[in-house]
């Protein structure tokens, strides 16, 4: 009897805790959405209530005054170029490194893995200089190839680990059938690598979409701003005009929320696969 009561109390505590934690997690976003649809006066007097009259104007204003679509397109192109580059460069290298047992392959692999320990802030000064000297600063494709350089080691590590676990026989059979090395790679190996490619695409797309510091250092032309850069710039302009700021923030969140709703399962799987390896 007593054990039953204790178990019940325990259950109630757990449920209360988890619901409180959920409210804590979601309320900042919900409050931001709610207040982005109010006037500034209403935010001041009644921050928790529903808007008296929904102010779509906040969004229309922001949409007209800012380069939202342009920044969205920029960010999308940047992620697309960077992630395809990473998948291309890293799958080639990771696969071949796992299949070649020479001193050179050990050296290469060691170099790539070691660099995963270097924090970004330790390379950023040198990076600004080298991109300036090579004239790749200021453009989206330039930023993308920098992302390929920084993102490849981790992807190579994942491709390497995945390749080790697939049997060699298929490749040997294809070679006997007369494939050359490159046909073998893109006709036979790359399709087999698909599961780990999905993980790599998810991890890198999220990282680059949400990365702030590197674009901040590399992009100064407004027309090439990413979503985060223009959000940050607008935030500075609209000091304490919260109804507009919140509308900007929600617009910046929107794409990722939509992606999350539709791809939630794959994203969670990609995150845990990527971290455990």
């Amino acid at each position: 009897m007593r054990a039953n009561i204790l178990a019940l109390i325990g259950k109630v505590v757990v449920i209360v805790f988890i619901i409180a934690a959920s409210i804590f997690t979601l309320s900042p976003i919900l409050l931001a959405v709610l207040n982005s649809l109010k006037t500034n006066g209403e935010i001041y007097t009644n921050i928790l209530s529903l808007p008296e009259k929904i102010q779509w104007n906040n969004y229309i204003d922001v949409f007209q005054k800012t380069n939202y679509l342009r920044s969205l397109l920029n960010t999308f192109l940047l992620v697309l170029m960077s992630v395809s580059g990473i998948v291309f460069a890293a799958s080639l290298a990771g696969y071949k490194l796992a299949r070649t047992k020479t001193k050179l392959s050990g050296l290469f692999f060691g170099l790539f893995v070691m660099s995963m320990l270097i924090p970004f802030h330790s390379i950023m000064i040198g990076l600004v200089r080298v991109t300036h000297d090579l004239h790749v600063q200021g453009s989206l494709w330039g930023l993308a190839i920098v992302y390929v350089g920084i993102g490849s080691p981790m992807a190579i590590f994942l491709y390497h680990g995945f390749t080790k676990n697939i049997p060699k026989e298929i490749e040997e059979a294809a070679l006997i059938d007369g494939c050359n090395e490159f046909q073998l790679y893109y006709k036979v190996v790359f399709p087999i690598l698909r599961p780990i490619t999905a993980t790599i695409v998810i991890l890198n797309a999220l990282w680059i979409w949400n990365d702030f510091l590197l674009p901040l250092l590399m992009i100064s032309d407004k027309n090439r701003y990413t979503l985060l850069l223009s959000t940050k710039m607008l935030f500075g302009q609209y000091t304490s005009d919260w109804s507009q700021i919140l509308a900007i923030l929600i617009m910046a969140l929107l794409p990722i929320v939509i992606v999350y709703i539709f791809l939630q399962k794959h994203i969670v799987k990609g995150i845990s696969d990527g971290a455990i390896k």
Partner: protein, 290 residues
């Protein structure tokens, strides 16, 4: 050269070219710049000055303060992030139907850039909290959460935990799901209590994931930037200036002393490398003992 090596070189060429240009070369360059007096305006990249930047660092109170502040942040983050993530994972795994709903909710902030998340929390701290304090009298909320350094530490912490706990939670959920069900069933039949099962069976089996969780929390919180940049900008004054922000403003916002900032970056690199290596060694050894 062996044929296999030639093919290897071709396959590695694209990755290695970009990697060495944009990671290796800047990293090695950083060591060199840290020995020069190069400032951003100087087209000749400065002169060799030996270890004078490092000597100056020893007496730099601002940098020391930012190291201390970052260390405090790291300690809080490593402990809280892992405990909360593990707790959430254990609770959510014990649910049946609502498992996915809660996982989706708690992971959600992780999808958001901490720049955007930071601005949203700035609204919460500067508008919603004072409002709540006025209307329902929650006096603990009536503090200067951004302006008072004592409290802004906690606002940075709250924002960071909010944004990062979900990630570790996913890792711990995956670890819990990998535990063979028969093992838990057998212990239950033998009369072990829930706590006993968690401590004696689950804990050793997820030890490897805890090592990963601590490693991730350590290395990411040492590098914290976005959260502080968005929430306090390092202020008031330099009270919440973490190391990465200190380096950033030394190089790109203030006097453009690239040489001196590089010395700071080298220190950060050595620090992160040393601490994470020690952590991995110690925890790997513990895992074997368990």
């Amino acid at each position: 050269m062996k044929n296999s090596n030639r093919i290897l070189l071709i396959f590695c060429l694209p990755a290695f070219l970009l990697y060495s240009t944009f990671v290796l070369y800047p990293a090695l360059g950083g060591f060199w710049y840290s020995l020069t007096n190069w400032n951003g305006l100087d087209p000749t990249y400065g002169d060799y000055v030996g270890f004078s930047n490092y000597k100056e660092l020893l007496g730099d109170e601002n940098f020391k303060q930012s190291l201390l502040f970052t260390s405090k942040y790291v300690i809080y983050m490593v402990i809280l992030q892992n405990i909360i993530a593990l707790l959430l994972a254990v609770i959510i795994e014990s649910f049946e139907k609502t498992k996915n709903v809660f996982r989706t909710i708690f992971f959600f902030p992780n999808m958001i850039s901490m720049i955007v998340g930071g601005f949203i929390w700035l609204f919460i701290f500067t508008r919603v909290f004072p409002y709540l304090a006025d209307t329902i009298g929650l006096m603990i909320l009536d503090e200067s959460w951004i302006g008072n350094p004592q409290y802004s530490f906690y606002s940075i912490l709250i924002l960071s935990l909010w944004g990062s706990v979900g990630y570790l939670m996913i890792i711990y959920i995956a670890a819990l799901q990998n535990i063979p069900k028969q093992l838990l069933e057998a212990a239950r039949i033998d009369g072990a209590s829930k706590l006993q099962i968690n401590w004696h069976i689950v804990r050793p089996l997820i030890a490897n994931s805890i090592t990963i969780g601590v490693f991730i929390a350590l290395s990411t919180s040492f590098k914290v930037f976005d959260q502080v940049y968005a929430l306090t900008g390092g202020g008031p004054g330099r009270a919440t200036q973490v190391v990465s922000l200190n380096i950033f403003s030394e190089a790109f916002a203030m006097q453009s002393r690239f040489g001196y900032a590089s010395a700071k970056a080298v220190v950060l690199f050595v620090l992160i490398l040393g601490i994470t290596l020690i952590q991995l060694l110690v925890m790997k050894r513990k895992e074997v003992e368990m």
